[in-house]
């Protein structure tokens, strides 16, 4: 099977190169058969890579430890579902996963694009094929990057999967994040195709809009599940550490969010065409940059793959793509002139511009902080890393400004807002924000940023409620509909707008959850059996945790040491909580990794009680614990679900066609009535 896999990789690369060459240099405009060949090339490459994927999965499931990748990431006693996820657990497999998914997306883009945008498809196939050929080329020519590489001997068992990857979050987190990264290639391909074909009307935007939404949704899901995984698996009790690899996933999400807002201005008013193309190109480059960071080891990260020379491939690809893309954009600059002018800074367009400024500003500051170690090493010879304090200092104010704009944007009219419009729209949300502020002050909150954050959350929430209420009322009045039917029709007829509002509520919940993290309390304790410790919640009640002892037992592929605590809140027992140390072993009982920790969490909507069994000082049941009270953490996960619902609503197929507004371009000079000349 490895031979077949290798062959499939070579076939995919050669097909990719052929497709790209024909798409960019072939005379397909005059030969329809050649155009068909180009689009079919995308399907053929997909088929070849699916064969390669099956070959690798077969090796994983049959425990073919002669394959280096199988021996490095699996063991005979690894549960079957982790044999599936081992596919993307390491550098080589994840490269193949990337290539397979990209080839599927490339083929789907050819199949699903409506016929009115067919003229862009050969170029789209060309771009996706170049990217695909690059990824397959990295596997074939990169040092130690081929997933089908064989060992000179066959070990009796594999090393097994890293314990931290043996978590349900790791089943979903990497694939969804990869899906997000990879699907960005399709909007990028449409942008480049539009530039190459000089079809720079709104057609390419409409053709790729759902792909951009899908990328954004996958990235959002991937980032959220990654936060959940870090929270339940890493044991530090937080969800975001500003690690370079975490930051790398945030960059394209931020620029893609900016694009999804600014593209509305292009659709409605024919403005920001250059900016939108630049954002799509930038987003793609940032996704490649993230891959470079993760795989090069150039910046230290707890999430990086092993350092290898494939990073240089990505750096070269990044530079070449950036130069080629922006040069192409420059040559098409005059064709991307705006069709209308901004009439007022106090307008929906203006709010979206500020929103873009904030999002791109945050993306830049995160990128700057991520790259600062490299810059400081280049300039001063010392690798200075900026930690969470830096990122929080810079990004918290920007994030709050963005939250404010999330509330303001939907309230302002397109073109130009009048004072009456502003007064009518802003009264209820402002009151909502102020009521929240007063309530928080009355509850004793005094910290500045949490107060601002929660007040703005109140402001945005009332904005969204107001938008829904007004829309439903208008429908009830105009169409004499019942409230529920009016709501369904309102959302159904404009899924994009109201799905977007639901997404805004999801974002508000993220902000609320992040605000809660500012009030976390934690302590380290050492307890003998039946000894207790207390920790005070920010809400005022006290938890009493009583150590019950440590039990040791064998499980499927590990030895478990489980420490249990009885939990009482204000003296009333509410249950128990268990945290484990796990020593993973291979099928011969030999330890495979350092002992790992499984945290214990008792969660409700207000707060999480988070317990980590750190170990023992003397080999007895005397146990050390890290105990954390984390307020509002559940709202991250609820916000994630709301955000996904909103995203799905936005991109759900069907519904009315998007109509691009007919724009009236202001004309210089005076209008002179022409006399009709009789023939």
């Amino acid at each position: 099977m490895t031979l077949l896999g290798d062959f499939a990789l070579w076939a995919a690369m050669l097909i990719g190169l052929w497709t790209a060459a024909m798409a960019f240099f072939g005379p397909w405009q005059s030969r329809p058969a050649l155009a068909t060949s180009v689009t079919r090339g995308a399907h053929a490459a997909c088929l070849a890579l699916l064969v390669a994927a099956v070959a690798l999965w077969r090796g994983l499931f049959t425990h073919d430890f002669n394959i280096e990748y199988v021996a490095a990431y699996t063991a005979r006693n690894l549960p079957d579902y982790y044999l599936v996820t081992a596919f993307w657990a390491g550098q080589k497999g994840s490269l193949l996963f990337w290539a397979v998914v990209l080839s599927i997306f490339g083929a789907l883009a050819q199949l699903l694009t409506p016929s009115r945008h067919r003229n862009l498809l050969p170029h789209v196939a060309g771009v996706t094929s170049v990217v695909l050929a690059f990824f397959v080329g990295v596997m074939l020519f990169g040092d130690g990057a081929n997933p089908f590489e064989r060992l000179p001997f066959t070990p009796p068992d594999g090393r097994g999967l890293n314990p931290q990857l043996q978590n349900p979050g790791m089943i979903a987190h990497p694939p969804t994040l990869y899906l997000g990264y990879i699907s960005i290639t399709i909007p990028f391909a449409f942008a480049i195709a539009a530039l190459l074909a000089r079809r720079l009307d709104t057609g390419w935007i409409i053709a790729m809009r759902k792909w951009a939404l899908a990328s954004w949704l996958f990235l959002s899901i991937g980032i959220t599940i990654g936060m959940w995984w870090a929270y339940v698996e890493l044991g530090w009790g937080g969800v975001w550490a500003w690690d370079p690899v975490e930051n790398a996933s945030l960059h394209p999400w931020l620029t893609l969010t900016a694009f999804l807002h600014s593209v509305m201005i292009q659709e409605k008013r024919g403005m920001l065409k250059r900016w939108n193309v630049a954002l799509v190109i930038g987003t793609f480059l940032l996704s490649i940059f993230g891959t470079f960071i993760t795989r090069s080891g150039v910046i230290a990260s707890v999430h990086s793959f092993t350092q290898s020379d494939v990073g240089y491939f990505f750096l070269a690809f990044l530079c070449v793509t950036a130069i080629a893309s922006f040069t192409l954009l420059y040559t098409r600059w005059p064709s991307l002139a705006p069709e209308a002018q901004l009439e007022s800074m106090l307008s929906r367009e203006g709010a979206f511009l500020y929103n873009n400024l904030a999002l791109v500003g945050i993306a830049f500051s995160v990128l700057w902080g991520t790259l600062f170690p490299i810059l400081s090493e280049a300039v001063r010879g010392t690798k200075m890393t900026v930690g969470p304090a830096f990122f929080n200092r810079v990004n918290v104010p920007l994030g709050l400004f963005l939250l404010l704009l999330t509330g303001i944007g939907p309230l302002i009219a397109w073109r130009k807002a009048s004072v009456a419009n502003l007064r009518r729209q802003f009264i209820a949300p402002t009151v909502g924000g102020l009521v929240t502020l007063v309530a928080m002050l009355a509850l004793g909150m005094r910290a500045f940023y949490p107060l601002v954050s929660l007040s703005l959350a109140g402001f945005v929430t009332v904005t969204v409620i107001q938008e829904f209420t007004r829309g439903v009322r208008a429908r009830m009045r105009l169409h004499a509909e019942h409230v529920a039917l009016a709501l369904v029709h309102l959302v159904g007829r404009n899924r994009r707008r109201y799905g977007g509002y639901v997404v805004h509520i999801g974002i508000v919940l993220y902000f609320v959850a992040f605000t809660g993290m500012a009030f976390r309390t934690e302590k380290t304790v050492e307890l003998a059996p039946l000894e207790s410790s207390t920790i005070r919640s920010p809400y005022g009640h006290t938890y009493t945790l009583t150590h019950q002892g440590v039990s040791q037992y064998a499980a499927l592929n590990r030895h478990v040491s489980a420490a249990t605590l009885d939990v009482a809140r204000d003296g009333v027992r509410i249950g128990s909580i268990k945290s484990e140390k796990r020593q993973h072993v291979d099928s011969f009982g030999n330890p495979t990794f350092e002992p790992s920790t499984e945290v214990g969490i008792r969660s409700d909507l207000r707060e999480d009680l988070y317990v980590v069994f750190s170990g023992t000082p003397d080999g007895t049941e005397r146990a050390q614990y890290k105990i954390v009270v984390n307020p509002l953490v559940s709202w991250f996960w609820i916000g994630g679900v709301v955000l996904v619902i909103g995203g799905l609503l936005t991109m759900w197929p069907g519904g009315p066609q998007i109509r691009v507004a007919r724009r009236i371009v202001p004309q210089a000079g005076y209008a002179v009535p022409l006399a009709t000349v009789a023939k």
Binding site: L234, G235, W236, S301, L342, E343, L357, V360, G361, F364, S365, W368, G369, F372, S376, T382, K383, M384, T385, V386, A389, F390, V394, A474, L490, R493, N494, E522, K523, T524, V525, A528, P529, L530, S532, G549, Q552, A554, H559, S561, K581, Q583, P595, V612, S614, G615, T616, P617, D618, G619, T620, E621, Q624, K626, P656, R659, P666, Q667, A668, G669
Partner: protein
Amino acid sequence: MTDRRGFLRGALRALPFAVAVGPLGAQLPAASPDTLQADLLRDPSLLGRLRDPASAYDNDPVVISIERRLRCTCGCTLDIYTCRTTDFSCTFSPALHREVITMVKSGLTPEDIVAALVAREGPAMLMAPPARGFNLAGYLVPGLVMASGALGLAAWLSRRRLAVATAVPGMCPPVPPSPSVPDANQMERLRRALDDVES
């Protein structure tokens, strides 16, 4: 999965403990009402390295604040406090923690302790680099770029508005105020406009 043979093997391994610890446990004084005797674990090595005994300094705000400013030298990118309470296999952060406690006990101020450790390990140990020299760029550049972007946007917008205003004087005549009660014709126009907006 634990099969019968594995179970018996485990029981055999536990037997010496049972023989040795069982009578020992019987000779130990009875546990206090609040705690029980902390019995030996069957296999302490399954928990990794033994931990240092906990002390009041583990939760001391001064110690924690110092440790949060300093990076662990194991290469994990975490600060000493987070590393010592998270990565339980790291041996660097517990050693640094002990060092910090010793310095606090000796009466050194937090600034002295940070300075002493940075002098030994180098400035890369700081979680946030001091705001001087090239490091200033780290703090200032994002703000400067944002401010430049905002200024550039404002200048571009005002130039555009000026261009539109001078190029099309009187292009947009003032809209007369609409009557407070819309007539049927206006309602129909509103209905069409709403349909247009909703689609």
